[in-house]
Symmetry: C2
Subunit: 195 residues, 2 copies
DNA sequence: CCTACCGATCGGTAGG
DNA sequence: CCTACCGATCGGTAGG
């Protein structure tokens, strides 16, 4: 049993909006839909938020920050191989996704509806994040830990497998985040390790 | 040089709609956007199509059929191992994606905006397709070709890696479809093969 | 947090 | 393929 969290109205709005955007997509979700879900009239939403896009922005950047924080925790620890760093990156990434299954789906699917300058900021954050994976793969290849391959390709393949998790992960299912992390690391990494 | 294809108006509509839906998403794309792209007025679209959703339907089911046809060609050939079947499934799947980079993105991202009964039909087709992968994985595990793993998990991981390809594949880039198929098969399959 | 309401835009039709 | 136009719905504001 997790203890019931006390949410203020703004947090409740974000939570309900996340569910709504996940199910119908951002553009197809109307502020009237959201108001109905929350149990108030549409114009009343605007005493808590300033626009529909603000909600999307909050969701997308909150998740982006969680991904970065997770990876930075990994970097702060000592590691003896590129393999263990990459594995930790993968497990951390999965943990963020699993802690935020709905929000991460919105993050992956709806970010393109952000407007400038937020859209540009979002894209550059994402590139920076991918670059972290890129770097460790390159290092591992130089170390002769990983097979020589195009890193861009490997990064994209790893991240695509990870980023699909919210589509099928069942919080009430039999797998813990750690088990999923273990399975997916084994499957992805053993394919690129020199044996 | 590919020879210029002669498209009729309806095919041109579908092509332009595919580009539009890919860039802005189905819901955020208006019929006026599409009309402008084609160079006519919005109401004129309706002498070629009956509704906005009809276009989405055409795109989604055309791609679904291409995936099925590709996999059935594989089934018709003789194979000596589950490994070679699975590898052929993967390469065929990639070829369909690469032949239809924009349309497959629409297929993956916008199908949820189909209405019933098409939505149900779409979902059941997709399940059937996944079941083909499921079956060959199970067989390969019984054969002791593949490591014993949860097949659902493996299928989803493979397909997620494949289905991300249209996000990054550059038709003018250095990789041929065959090379991508080879790389991705090696990376995904060697992780699940008993050595 | 509500009622009343705005201009803009939506998918689509009528009629030619 | 066009002009003229429809009812519905959109995000959001005014004023309380």
């Amino acid at each position: 049993m997790s203890k019931p969290k006390k949410l203020n109205r703004k947090q409740e709005l974000e939570l309900k909006a996340t569910e709504l955007f996940k199910e119908k997509g951002y553009t197809a979700s109307s502020m009237r839909d959201l108001a109905t879900k929350v149990g108030i009239e549409a114009p009343s939403l605007y005493s808590h938020i300033s626009s529909k896009e603000e909600i999307l922005r909050t969701i997308c950047f909150r998740i982006a920050n969680e991904f970065f924080e997770a990876i930075e925790l990994v970097d702060q620890k000592a590691h003896n191989s590129s393999y263990t760093i990459l594995e930790s990156y993968i497990v951390s990434h999965i943990q963020v996704i699993i802690k935020n299954t709905s929000a991460s789906l919105v993050f992956f699917n709806e970010w393109k509806h952000l407007s400038e300058p937020y859209l540009g900021e979002f894209k550059s954050k994402r590139s920076e994040y991918e670059r972290r994976f890129h770097r460790i793969l390159k290092k591992g290849m130089e170390n002769n830990e990983f097979i020589e391959m195009d890193e861009k390709f490997v990064v994209l393949t790893i991240l695509s497998a990870l980023n699909w998790i919210p589509h099928w992960y069942d919080p009430k299912g039999k797998w813990t985040p750690e088990e999923i992390g273990g399975y997916i690391s084994r499957m992805l990494l053993h394919g690129i390790l020199i044996k």
